[in-house]
């Protein structure tokens, strides 16, 4: 496709969340607030939202397997068709929101934006936003694999209905979320009240916007879990300028440390983060990571990495969804930046030892 078209790809936000968590509340807020943007919304059930101004499309959640030899490679067939239709109405909207049912696995939706070349030429996946119910999530994480997938997959998590739980319960559910996904941005909310800039147009899948792979534990401490009046304040770290706020997070972390975030270990879903304090050899790393996602792709939900290649002035950044992985050389390392190589995998039953050994063997 021509450059003219690819240069203004339509951003797509995927909205997931278990039944009753508050997805529709968030969606209605997005559609009713004054923000000067028009959204095309792809919903799985008609009728729950009723906004005349935006395009609302009903979807069937048809998950198709691709016959391309990739066993976990599924796409949403209905989504491909709907986006093909929406492209013909370009100009009527600025961005697309895809709402999935509570029982849906986010992977086929996300993979659609990488696997289907026509969809990939016109749109870009912006972020996976998961709405979770503070009262029931801990239970759902035990009995509903879909709920766990949605947390593991998320770039942004709205932990909603915090007014219905005690501070201790809230702390526990945050701990359980962080056991699965320490990297998503977490917002504690009531009635899904969060500044929409925290949810929309996050560029979470843009390689040149993956600035850091620090766990987000450090970032949520400007919330006081005990004070429910602060549920919709702005997150300072999220103004889009990246590194400058990093120190603040660490300070916040420091003074809040006595609060003591509980650490949980989820038996099946976990994240693995490994750092090499220096360069890696791309001739070893690239085949290794490709083999890893080909072999363990069905269990790897999300992967990201920022790497320092020997002799290369630019950072190599990759991100992936199951077996689909994309990477590129991005901006140059800054003079005051430590040239570390860090990878992060979130998945089911990951063999941390093997991944660690494999990655460490790539050190230059």
């Amino acid at each position: 496709m021509s450059d003219k078209i690819s240069s203004d790809k339509i951003p797509v936000t995927v909205l997931t969340g278990y039944l009753g968590a508050g997805k529709t509340t968030l969606l209605n807020r997005i559609l009713s607030e004054e923000h000067g943007r028009k959204y095309a919304v792809i919903v799985n059930e008609f009728g729950e939202i009723g906004i005349d101004n935006d395009l609302v499309v009903g979807a069937d959640e048809e998950v198709f397997e691709m016959n391309n030899g990739c066993i976990c490679c599924t796409v949403r067939g209905d989504l491909i068709r709907i986006i093909e239709g929406l492209v013909k109405r370009r100009g009527k909207f600025d961005a697309i929101i895809v709402e999935t049912t509570g029982l849906a696995d986010p992977a086929p939706v996300a993979q659609t934006f990488f696997v289907d070349q026509d969809v990939a030429a016109r749109t870009k996946l912006d972020a996976v936003v998961t709405v979770a119910d503070a009262k029931w999530l801990s239970e759902r994480l035990k009995d509903a694999p879909e709920a766990k997938n949605q947390i593991a997959f998320a770039d942004v998590i709205l932990l909603n209905k915090t007014d219905l739980v005690t501070p201790e319960e809230l702390e526990e559910v945050v701990g359980r979320i962080r056991a699965i996904n320490p990297y998503a941005r977490l917002h504690k909310t009531q009635r899904a009240a969060v500044p929409l800039a925290e949810v929309l147009e996050r560029n979470a899948f843009d390689l040149d916007r993956i600035l850091t792979l620090e766990p987000a534990f450090l970032e949520e401490d400007d919330h006081d879990g005990h004070d429910h009046h602060h549920h919709d304040h702005e997150h300072g770290e999220n103004c889009g300028c990246g590194h400058d706020h990093h120190h603040e997070h660490e300070h916040a972390h420091g003074h809040h440390h006595h609060g003591g975030l509980k650490h949980y270990h989820d038996e099946h879903m976990q994240s693995v983060s490994i750092v090499i304090p220096g360069d890696v050899n791309p001739d070893r790393f690239l085949p290794w990571v490709n083999d890893l996602v080909q072999r363990d792709g069905p269990n790897i939900l999300r992967s990201k990495g920022i790497l320092s290649f020997r002799g290369e002035p630019r950072r190599f950044v990759f991100q992936g969804v199951h077996m689909i992985i994309e990477g590129d050389l991005q901006r140059e390392w800054k003079p005051d930046e430590k040239r570390d190589s860090r990878i992060v995998f979130i998945g089911r039953d990951l063999d941390e030892k093997a991944i660690r050994e494999g990655f460490l063997a790539c050190a230059a």
């Binding site: 496709m1 021509s2 450059d3 003219k4 078209i5 008609f46 395009l55 499309v57 009903g58 069937d60 048809e62 198709f64 397997e65 691709m66 016959n67 391309n68 796409v75 067939g77 209905d78 491909i80 068709r81 709907i82 239709g85 492209v87 013909k88 109405r89 370009r90 100009g91 009527k92 289907d116 070349q117 026509d118």
Partner: protein, 323 residues
């Protein structure tokens, strides 16, 4: 050849074009239909506040299915009639034929209305992605996930399945009624010989095939999806074991193909906006439109084959008049 082309602004993504005798009717992504009769143009609103997403021709009317759930019929004189209103459910596929019969899909549900206005409906296993009438009898071929359903709307339980794993998109039936061919999500075509159910796989495309056109004699099937129009031989036993012809090789993917109605001449439109016509007998090529970036999204010959109408994704249109 370029000086025989009248180019103009259609104003929105051209989703399809058909000739209603001497009038070219361009269906648009903003819901309008632009009618051009010998350079005199007028626009009618077939889908107010919506888009004309799928396009077919029923006799002397242009049918458009929209995201407003309506099927509108636009005549050359600009009159618009609503034929179907599915109350906001997108019309996902549409086909029609000369006697005025037409069929449409909303998700898994497929409906057909014959020339006398009798309507029937059926449900297929997954969303109907493509529809095509068989040349003989009142029979419909429906492409969907994992295969094709053949349906006689006038017959109780009149469905038959052709299975092939994967997502089938567009569908066509050969003019002799012997073959059904679909395009697939995985950049291949799949075909069935109806006499014995034999499968045919036509692979090697770098992109999805979204345009299929039969030659007037039914012996060739032209397809989009490669950096040339790929033309499969269907004379004498079908394309099995025979290489296709590659016509109009250019460094851009073909997005639209349209065979001339009376001669072995093919029109091809490209992803870079170029369009050309190619004579199959000697591979002579004539440029109709030069590349300008936006893909060609619509292409149609008039009934005599003296005029060729085309439209692009960014709302450019034109008509070539052959000497």
């Amino acid at each position: 050849m370029l000086d025989k082309v009248a180019g103009f602004e259609a104003g929105a993504h051209v989703t399809g074009v058909r000739w209603l005798d001497g009038t070219a009717a361009f269906a648009l992504g903003d819901g309008g239909v632009l009618l051009d009769r010998a350079g005199e143009r007028r626009r009618v609103e077939a889908h107010p506040d919506a888009g004309a997403l799928v396009v077919a021709q029923a006799g002397k009317r242009l049918l458009t299915g929209g995201d407003d759930g309506r099927i509108a019929a636009t005549a050359a004189d600009g009159t618009v009639e609503t034929l179907v209103d599915e109350k906001g459910r997108w019309i996902t596929a549409l086909t029609a034929r000369d006697d005025g019969a037409f069929a449409w899909a909303t998700g898994k549900r497929v409906s057909a209305r014959d020339a006398k206005g009798r309507e029937a409906a059926t449900e297929v296993p997954a969303t109907a992605q493509g529809l095509a009438f068989a040349p003989k009898g009142f029979r419909l071929a429906i492409a969907h996930y994992n295969g094709v359903t053949l349906w006689f709307p006038a017959v109780e339980n009149g469905t038959e399945q052709l299975m092939w794993k994967g997502s089938h998109l567009d569908i066509t039936v050969s003019p002799d009624g012997h073959y059904v061919v679909t395009s697939m999500q995985e950049n291949t075509l799949h075909g069935w010989r109806l006499a014995d159910g034999k499968d045919m796989r036509m692979a090697g495309y770098p992109a999805k095939t979204r345009s299929l056109s039969w030659s007037h004699d039914g012996e060739w099937l032209a397809t989009s999806g490669a950096e040339a129009a790929i033309v499969w031989p269907f004379a004498k036993g079908g394309p099995m074991g025979k290489p296709p012809r590659e016509c109009g090789v250019r460094p851009a993917v073909v997005t639209q193909v349209a065979f001339h109605p009376t001669a072995l001449v093919l029109a091809a439109g490209y992803a870079d906006g170029a369009a050309m016509i190619i004579r199959l007998t000697d591979a002579a090529e004539l440029m109709v439109r030069t590349a300008d970036e936006a893909p060609v999204t619509a292409l149609a010959w008039d009934r005599k084959g003296t005029r060729l109408a085309f439209g692009t994704e960014d709302g450019e249109a034109g008509i070539l008049t052959l000497p």
